[in-house]
Every structure is written in structure tokens, then in C-alpha cells.
């Protein structure tokens, strides 16, 4: 299977962020794939329009790491769907990722807007 190098790059960059978003979403409670996709789209105020399909590789990966677990159940409109739930390890990972992300954005913020007073840091 061939894939132009550019797309692969995008995917890799995106992977880390996507993991974070999924975990955060699942913090609210178990959800199925479609639900997660919709949640991210809506919560980000339509900024993120992801292809639903790109969730699945990420979900597999997170499952492998042991941060989420799965269970088949019924969706709100009576369809059979696979639900994902965050685990304790996942919660820990989420906290770590969140902290890292915040520090990351703060650092960029400092570079872009150096005049911002220190007290406004989170």
C-alpha cells in the first residue's frame, strides 16, 4: 500500500492530539465511535472536522496501550454498537497528556506574545 509521504506526516502529528481528544471525550463517559466523532466535532465548535474513519486506528492503538476498554452495547437509537470506556491507566495518561499539552501551548504563547505577564499563566 503506497501513501504519499505528506499524508503520513500529517497523520503522525495528528495522532498524538487525537489520542488526547479521545481520552478527554471518554472522560465524560463511555461512548461508541460515532459518538466520539460527533462529540469532538461539536465540542471544538466545528473547528475540527475529522474524517470519522481516522478515529479507528487511534482507538485500536489506545486499546493496545490499555487506556481504554471496549464493550458491545446498544446505542441511543437501538443500534448495536461497540462502546469504549476509559480505564484508570487511561485517566492517568490523560492527566499527563493534558499537563504536557498545556505546558506546550504556554511555551508557544510565550514565544508568540512575550509581553504577556506571568500571572496569566495557568
Amino acid at each position: 500500500m503506497t501513501r504519499p509521504a505528506q499524508t503520513r506526516e500529517h497523520l503522525e502529528l495528528f495522532q498524538g492530539t487525537l489520542d488526547l481528544l479521545i481520552l478527554r471525550t471518554l472522560r465524560w463517559g463511555p461512548m461508541h465511535g460515532h459518538g466520539i466523532a460527533k462529540f469532538i466535532e461539536q465540542s471544538s465548535r466545528e473547528t475540527f472536522r475529522i474524517e470519522h474513519g481516522s478515529l479507528y486506528p487511534a482507538l485500536q492503538r489506545l486499546q493496545q496501550e490499555g487506556w481504554i476498554v471496549t464493550e458491545w452495547g446498544t446505542s441511543s437509537n437501538n443500534r448495536r454498537a461497540k462502546f469504549y470506556k476509559i480505564t484508570a491507566a487511561g485517566r492517568k495518561q490523560l492527566t499527563a497528556e493534558q499537563t504536557r499539552w498545556t505546558r506546550f501551548t504556554a511555551a508557544i504563547g510565550h514565544i508568540l506574545h512575550p509581553s504577556k505577564p506571568a500571572s496569566e499563566e495557568e
Binding site: 461508541h32 465511535g33 460515532h34 479507528y56 486506528p57 492503538r61 446505542s75
Partner: protein, 889 residues
């Protein structure tokens, strides 16, 4: 990847089929949910479905990337390649079987040669911790020959060195078995056994423990003549003594002395030289094993092999330095410069570095020959692969169009090549090892035993086979793979188009392969031809004496402790008796058998001029003979006379010299009457004989009359008028009667010749076989190419025939191209042969390396056979019906 993740991945890999179907379910469910939502906005069902799909994105891509979470991608691809390759190979059984067979032949023959040489030279000795074992040789610092030690020298080194934990010595001999226990052997001459005389510590130094009984004790290594004990080899015990369980303690009568069996060596150990050993006897029994030998006390008798185990951490170079110093200390200061003496310590091996150097040219040539065979096989297979690649062009083109990378396709094609190559290599290696194990015991000069070589499928051989298979696969597979996967498939298709063209097969590569095959094959055939002709020439060499119709009688009278007087009496009586036998023309005695395995040399110093350094260097052979010797061997005495009984009776200081000697020392003068060696007179000149090597003429030889002192070591030569075979019995009986209890051996002199011919017989057989193999492979290649060409041009041929071409024209068309290639190949092959034939050098026995008969003959043979190979597909071409051909688009 961390271990935990690896384990998790492994677990999910095991359940991958379930995961696959679950994901499919899940995605389907997802799409349904999205569809529902879309429907809720009021669009039609179909539009909803499309919208859902759009929102989802590429389902296949999602599945593929998700899949990577639970597979090992490269491994998966690898197994996929193999499965696909197997399927493809199964689909083309013709190609697969021919290829495997061809490769089996090529790789098998190479593995066989490698295994042979490895076992002989590099394989560790079959002893304990072979890396610590080293061979010790005497080496003069001026010339680099690895020589033997003397016994006193060995003892000195053994007792004073600090670098070896043990230093042993051994020497080969042949002892005659005359009875086992109380039972006599049924033969007048007794049974010769391959014996090894060894120092007491031989077995312990090598770490060999006998399976029954014991090895030798230190006591048995002290006093000469006091240790009549013997250790048997396992094989000898099985074969000759029927594995008698109580053999330890029984006696064997060897060289007329009873020896007690004290032990049996373990199975698989047959000594440390290539010739297998039957029995081991303590060195102290040298006096009995070699009657008349004083070697144990003689510091000038160099005959001993030495082998030792280095101490822990000691390097061979250290041992070498120490032993050299010791050897120089030991050296007798009166016999030349002792600083020239040196010791060489080499890794323990079956063959000495000297033997290795001598055998190297033959070995290298052999390896080159089999490598050529493999190359020819590769060319064959490459051609086949190219042809096959073309027939798969559609499939490959489609895959390329779908986005497969060229690398991927090449990788897949190479996998097929590797599979075929490994299969061929495995089959070939199996056959090679089995053949070697089966044939080696029979591979020996007449009269000797087969080699002590344990050829088996050990790690180095297997490694070699696998490596060779892989290299072969790349050799024949890479270029066809690259060719087939060209990014512009249209170009490939155009090249091999089935359209009507003058030359549809523009494939220059295939033509070159055929030419290369023909050339290499021709080189091998020329080599085989040269060797064969050399062999026939060798068999007609005139050794200078008549080998036919001569019996040789050896009577080991020293075993019965005959003294000189009794020996002389026996000699006289037997000679008299033999002369009276009907059918006997002449009887003579000599000390040495011409072209036998031993000879004596001496310095020759003419009295009529001061000795020059040239004279000292001239090595002159000598023989001590009785009157009648020259007649018995039909050696003409060209001037002067031979010896008479009177000369012997008067004990005259006379001699007969050979022509070469006369020419060398007294060129242009009459040698008769000249003296040498302080007063010995030359009374006759004999014709030259080839006495040492069959292939060297011009041996300088001097004959002395046999005196009383020589009487116990004389050999009888009996010239018979007819076939000597009939007289063997009578002669043996006569001898036995006159010397009861003495081992008598009677053989025909011409049987000695076999020993000389044998190596070239072997070489000719081997090269003939390889040449034949190469020819066969080349022919298959030619046949294949012609056949393919015919198939390609069926359409064209049909058109031509429809337009009026006769059979003859078609034939010329088809044969033309192929025979042109053969012609070019033959010319190139001849050129290479001419250049390379020099390599065969010494094996040609004087035949010119550019022997015209061979070159011309082989070329003609090749062309004739190639014509036949081309003819079959050509006939097919001629039978083509124009209608069918035209229909075939």
C-alpha cells in the same frame, strides 16, 4: 517497542481474525448510525448513505491502518509474499521442477567439493578441544618445507618445553598380522595392517578415551622392545574381529611377535591423518614394526610427526619460539649451521601445511570448475525466469498500475527465486552428502584404503549451502525481476511483441546468457578433453624398462632375524631355484623397486676433478643390484657390461651408471674406466629409466653390486616369458620352502603403475563428469531459447510459409539465430580455454596445453550436439500449418 507492548501485540495478533470481523461490524454500525442522523435532516435514503460515507472517509484505509495495531506488518507481508510465491510456483510446475533440478545440480556439486575440502583441511580434528591442538614440524629457516622430527629430538622437546601440557609423537607403519589368538591367518604373506606407532601419551594428549580397556601406560613408553601391546580401532574390531566382546586381553601376532590387546579406541576416531588406522602400537616397538630400524636412537633419522596440546592461554607463536630455541640447543653443532634449524607450530589438522600447499592447485582448479557449472545453471534459470516474467507481464502491469511500488514487486519476485533456490540447494546438498558418503570409501588408489574423512552435514557445510543458495537466487533472479517490474510496462510489452516483425525477440540479455553458457561449458569440456588425452598419453609412457611380465618377490627375512650370511644363502638358493622354473627368462635382485614408493640418494663425486658445489647439489639415485638385474628388467646396457658373479665374488669396487649421469659428469667423454667416490670404477652405462617419478625423465642413477651386507634387504625380479600370473603360486611356494616362517609377497610389477595413473584417472573422470554436466545444462539452455523463439515466431513462420517458404527456409530461420549464438559462444570459450589451459600445468603430463586435437574435437562435438538440440524445436516449426499460425494472434 517495549516488551509489554510486544506481548500485547502478540496476543492481539493471535486473535486477529476476530478483531478483523469485529472492526468490520463496528464500522458498519458506525455508518448506519451516521446514516440515520443524515436521514433525520430529511434527505433521501441513498443521499443519506452517500453523505454518511463521505463523513466517514475512506473505509478501506481506516481498516488498513487500524489493522496495523494488531499485526506485525513486515512479518505479515513476508508471509504473504511466501504464500503468493508458493502459489505461483505451483501454477507453473514445469518451470519450477526444471529450475529446482538445475539448481540442485549446480549447488549440490559445489557443496560436495566444499564439504570435502573443509573436512580435509579446516575441520577441527575429531579430538577433545581441537582448538588447543597443534602440529609440530621441523622447519629449516632457509627453505620453507615442513618436515618431520627425529625421535631423540622429540624426546628433548617433550621433556623440556613449558608451553605444551603434553607433546605426543606418531608415525605410520605397516605391520603384518599372522594370527589372531591361536588361529593362523590363511595367507603366506600375512595381512598388512595400517599401523600407527605412537608415544605413550598420544591418547591422553588428544583426550581420546578407549571404549574398552585402556590406552598406553607410561611404562610402555620407556624401554625399546618391551611393550608388546596394541590398541585397536573400533572399525577394525568390528570389521575384522567381528566385534568379539572379549578381545581385550587376547593376543594378535604382528610381525611375528605376540601383542596383547589392551584397548579399543572409540567409534569415529581413526587417527590424525587422512588414512584410517587399524591399530596403534607403542613407539617403543619400532624395532619390531620396522625390522632393522634404529630410529629411536638415531638423531639423524627424521621421520616423526609430532602433535601436542597447548597450555591454557599459550599462543602458537610462543610455543614456536620456545621449541625453536630448544631444537637449536639440541642440534649437533657439527652438522651445519644450527641457526638454520627451526620449529613450526601449526594448527592441528589432518594435512600438513606442506601437503596443503601441494594439493592447493588441484583444489583451486576443482573449485573453479564447479563454480563454472553453477554459473551455467544460473544462466539457464535466469533465462527461464526472464521468459516466465514476460508471461506474467499482465499481472505485474496491473499491480504496478494499482499503485504497487517497484520495490514491492521485485521483493515478491525475489521471494519466488529464493524459495526455488533454497529448495534446489536443499535437494542438491542432500544428494551431495549422501553421494560423498557412499563414494569416498571407494575413492582410493588400488591397494590402499579409502580416506578417513567424516563428511557429513555439519554447520559449516549447511551454512555454505544456504549462503550459496541465496547468492544464486540473487544471481539469477534479480535482473529478471528488475526487468519485469519496469515502470513502463508498455516498453516491455513492445519488446516482446507478438506482432509480425523481423526479430521479435530483441532480448539481448537472453542471447548474452546463452553465449555465456556456451562459452563456460566449452571451457569445462576442453579441460576434460585435455585431461583425458593426457591420461592416454601417460599410459603409453615408456619408463625405460619393461614393466610387463615381471614378478616382484619381497621376503621380509629380517623378521626371522636372518643375519647377512643366512640372507645371502637364501638369496642364492632362491635365485637358483627360480631360474630353473619353466617360463622364467631371467632373475635378478635389487634393493629398490623402480617406481616404487622408496628410493635412496647419494652424493656422487668423480675422482678426476675437484668437487664443485654443483656436484654436491646433483641428487643421484642409487640401487644395489645383483647380476641379472638388468636382464630381468630389460634395461639395456648400452656400453661396457653389467655385473657378473665374479665381480661379487671378488668384491670389486665397480659400478654401472645411467646415461644421464654419464652425460652430466663426463659429457663427451667415455665414462667407462672413470672412477668416483675414491676408487670405484665405472664398468658400464645403462639406458635411462624413470625410476622415481613416471613423469620426470633424466634421473641420474648409479648401480652398485650387491654385497653380503645387503643380502637381507633384497627384492627379487623375475622376468617371465608369458603372463606372470600363472607362476605366482609356484614362485611363492618355492620361496616359502626355502624361508619357512618368513612373510613372502609376490606381485606383478605393472601393478605398480596403477598407483601413478590413479590421480589422473580420477581427475579425468571428475572433469569428464563436470564437463558432461556443463554440456547438458548448456544444451538445455539452447533448447529452451530456440523453443521459445519458435513459439514467439509461430505467426511469422505461418505467414512465410503461406507466402511460399519451403521447410528448408524455415529451418534456416530458426536455426540461424541459435547457431549464431552457439558459434559466438564457442569462439569465446576457445579463447578463454587457450588462456586458462596453462592452469592445468602439471596434470597434463607434458601434453601441450594448446593441444589442437582437443580444441578442435571439443568444438565440433559441441556444435554437433547443439545442432541436435536446436533441431527438435525447429522440426516443430516446420510442421506449423500456415492456417493455424495465422489464426494465432
Amino acid at each position: 517497542m517495549s516488551l509489554r507492548r510486544f506481548v500485547a501485540r502478540l496476543r492481539s495478533w493471535r486473535k486477529r481474525d476476530d478483531a478483523e470481523s469485529e472492526l468490520a461490524d463496528e464500522i458498519r454500525a458506525h455508518l448506519e448510525i451516521e446514516e440515520d442522523e443524515q436521514r433525520a435532516t430529511g434527505i433521501s435514503a441513498d443521499e443519506a448513505r452517500d453523505a454518511a460515507r463521505r463523513a466517514f472517509g475512506n473505509v478501506t484505509l481506516a481498516k488498513e491502518v487500524s489493522r496495523e495495531a494488531w499485526i506485525f506488518r513486515r512479518f505479515d507481508e513476508f508471509t504473504g509474499d511466501i504464500r503468493f510465491a508458493l502459489r505461483q510456483l505451483r501454477r507453473g510446475p514445469g518451470f519450477t521442477s526444471v529450475t529446482i533440478l538445475t539448481l540442485a545440480l549446480g549447488i549440490g556439486v559445489n557443496t560436495a567439493i566444499f564439504s570435502l575440502f573443509y573436512t580435509l583441511t579446516l575441520a577441527p580434528l575429531p579430538v577433545k578441544s581441537p582448538s588447543e591442538i597443534a602440529d609440530v614440524y621441523q622447519m629449516s629457516q632457509t627453505d620453507s618445507k615442513y618436515g618431520p622430527l627425529s625421535y631423540p629430538e622429540y624426546v628433548y622437546l617433550r621433556d623440556r618445553n613449558t608451553t605444551f601440557s603434553g607433546l605426543a609423537a606418531f608415525n605410520g607403519a605397516t605391520m603384518t598380522l599372522s594370527s589372531i589368538g591361536k588361529t593362523r591367518i590363511d595367507s603366506t604373506e600375512g595381512e598388512p595392517l595400517q599401523t600407527m606407532l605412537v608415544s605413550g601419551n598420544y591418547f591422553s594428549v588428544l583426550g581420546i578415551t578407549p571404549t574398552h580397556g585402556r590406552a598406553f601406560l607410561p611404562d610402555e613408553d620407556r624401554t625399546p622392545g618391551s611393550a608388546a601391546v596394541v590398541v585397536l580401532s573400533y572399525y577394525f574390531w568390528q570389521r575384522r574381529l567381528d566385534a568379539a566382546p572379549d578381545i581385550v586381553g587376547k593376543t594378535l601376532t604382528l610381525n611375528l611377535l605376540p601383542y596383547t590387546v589392551v584397548g579399543i579406541a572409540p567409534k569415529g576416531f581413526e587417527g590424525t591423518i587422512p588414512n584410517p588406522v587399524d591399530i596403534w602400537v607403542p613407539m617403543m616397538m619400532d624395532g619390531n614394526a620396522n625390522p632393522g630400524s634404529n630410529a629411536l636412537h638415531d638423531r639423524n633419522s627424521y621421520f616423526l610427526h609430532s602433535i601436542g596440546r597447548l597450555k591454557n592461554g599459550i599462543q602458537r607463536s610462543n610455543a614456536q619460539s620456545e621449541l625453536t630455541v630448544l631444537a637449536q640447543q639440541f642440534a649437533d653443532p657439527t652438522t651445519g649451521d644450527k641457526n638454520k634449524i627451526g620449529i613450526a607450530v601449526a594448527p592441528g589438522s589432518f594435512v600438513s601445511p606442506q601437503d596443503f600447499k601441494q594439493g592447493l592447485p588441484a583444489g583451486v582448479i576443482l573449485m573453479l570448475a564447479v563454480a563454472l557449472v553453477l554459473l551455467i545453471a544460473c544462466a539457464n534459470v535466469a533465462n527461464l525466469a526472464l521468459a516466465r516474467g514476460l508471461s506474467r507481464q499482465k499481472e505485474i502491469g496491473t499491480r504496478l498500475a494499482l499503485g504497487a511500488s517497484r520495490f514491492r514487486i521485485v521483493r515478491q519476485l525475489l521471494t519466488e527465486s529464493f524459495l526455488v533456490s533454497l529448495a534446489g540447494g536443499a535437494a542438491g546438498t542432500m544428494i551431495a552428502i549422501w553421494s560423498l558418503q557412499g563414494f569416498l570409501p571407494f575413492l582410493h588408489p588400488p591397494g590402499e584404503r579409502g580416506l578417513n574423512l567424516n563428511v557429513r552435514l555439519d554447520v559449516p557445510t549447511l551454512g555454505f549451502a544456504i549462503l550459496l543458495s541465496l547468492l544464486t537466487a540473487i544471481a539469477f533472479g534479480l535482473i529478471p525481476a528488475l526487468r519485469s517490474s519496469r515502470h513502463d510496462p508498455i516498453a516491455t510489452l513492445k519488446e516482446e511483441g507478438t506482432a509480425f516483425r523481423h526479430r521479435t525477440s530483441k532480448s539481448r540479455l537472453r542471447s548474452m546468457l546463452v553465449v555465456a553458457q556456451v562459452a563456460m561449458s566449452l571451457v569445462l569440456l576442453v579441460a576434460a578433453g585435455l585431461l583425458l588425452r593426457a591420461l592416454t598419453k601417460a599410459q603409453r609412457v615408456n619408463p625405460g624398462f619393461d614393466m610387463k611380465n615381471v614378478l616382484v618377490i619381497t621376503a621380509r627375512v629380517k623378521m626371522q632375524n636372518y643375519d647377512a650370511k643366512r640372507g645371502a644363502e637364501f638369496d642364492r638358493a632362491l635365485k637358483e631355484r627360480l631360474t630353473t622354473l619353466p617360463g622364467v627368462n631371467a632373475v635378478g635382485l635389487g634393493a629398490v623397486v623402480p617406481l616404487g614408493s622408496s628410493f635412496y640418494t647419494t652424493n656422487f663425486v668423480p675422482d678426476d676433478r675437484p668437487s664443485s658445489p654443483d656436484d654436491a647439489k646433483a641428487s643421484v639415485n642409487f640401487n644395489t643390484v645383483s647380476p641379472g638385474y638388468f636382464e630381468a628388467l630389460s634395461i639395456p646396457v648400452v656400453s661396457g657390461r653389467g655385473f657378473t658373479e665374479d665381480d661379487v665374488a671378488q668384491n670389486r669396487k665397480v659400478a654401472v651408471v645411467s646415461e644421464a649421469l654419464a652425460n652430466h659428469f663426463w659429457r663427451g667423454q667415455n665414462p667407462i674406466g672413470k672412477t668416483f667416490g675414491k676408487g670405484r670404477e665405472v664398468i658400464g652405462v645403462s639406458k635411462d629409466v624413470r625410476s622415481i617419478h613416471l613423469w620426470t625423465a633424466g634421473d641420474m642413477c648409479v648401480y652398485f653390486p650387491a654385497t653380503l651386507n645387503d643380502s637381507t634387504a633384497m627384492i627379487f625380479f623375475v622376468r617371465t616369458s608369458g603372463d606372470p600370473g600363472g607362476l605366482v603360486r609356484t614362485v611363492t611356494e618355492s620361496a616359502t620352502l626355502l624361508a619357512p616362517g618368513v612373510p613372502i609377497k609376490v606381485i606383478r610389477l605393472e601393478d605398480n603403475l596403477a598407483r601413478w595413473i590413479w590421480p589422473s584417472q580420477l581427475g579425468a573422470a571428475l572433469s569428464g563428469a563436470l564437463g558432461g554436466l556443463a554440456l547438458l545444462l548448456a544444451l538445455i539452455g539452447i533448447y529452451g531459447v530456440t523453443s521459445y523463439a519458435v513459439r514467439q515466431r509461430t505467426h511469422e513462420i505461418g505467414v512465410r510459409m503461406a507466402l511460399g517458404a519451403q521447410n528448408f527456409h524455415v529451418l534456416r530461420l530458426v536455426l540461424g539465430h541459435s547457431m549464431f549464438l552457439v558459434g559466438v559462444g564457442v569462439v569465446i570459450g576457445l579463447a578463454i580455454s587457450a588462456a586458462a589451459a596453462q592452469l592445468l600445468g602439471e596434470f597434463l603430463y607434458g601434453l601441450s596445453a594448446l593441444d589442437l586435437v582437443t580444441f578442435a574435437g571439443v568444438s565440433m562435438l559441441f556444435i554437433a550436439v547443439s545442432l541436435a538440440a536446436c533441431y527438435i524445436p525447429a522440426r516443430r516449426a516446420m510442421r506449423v500449418e500456415p492456417i493455424t499460425a495465422l489464426r494465432y494472434e
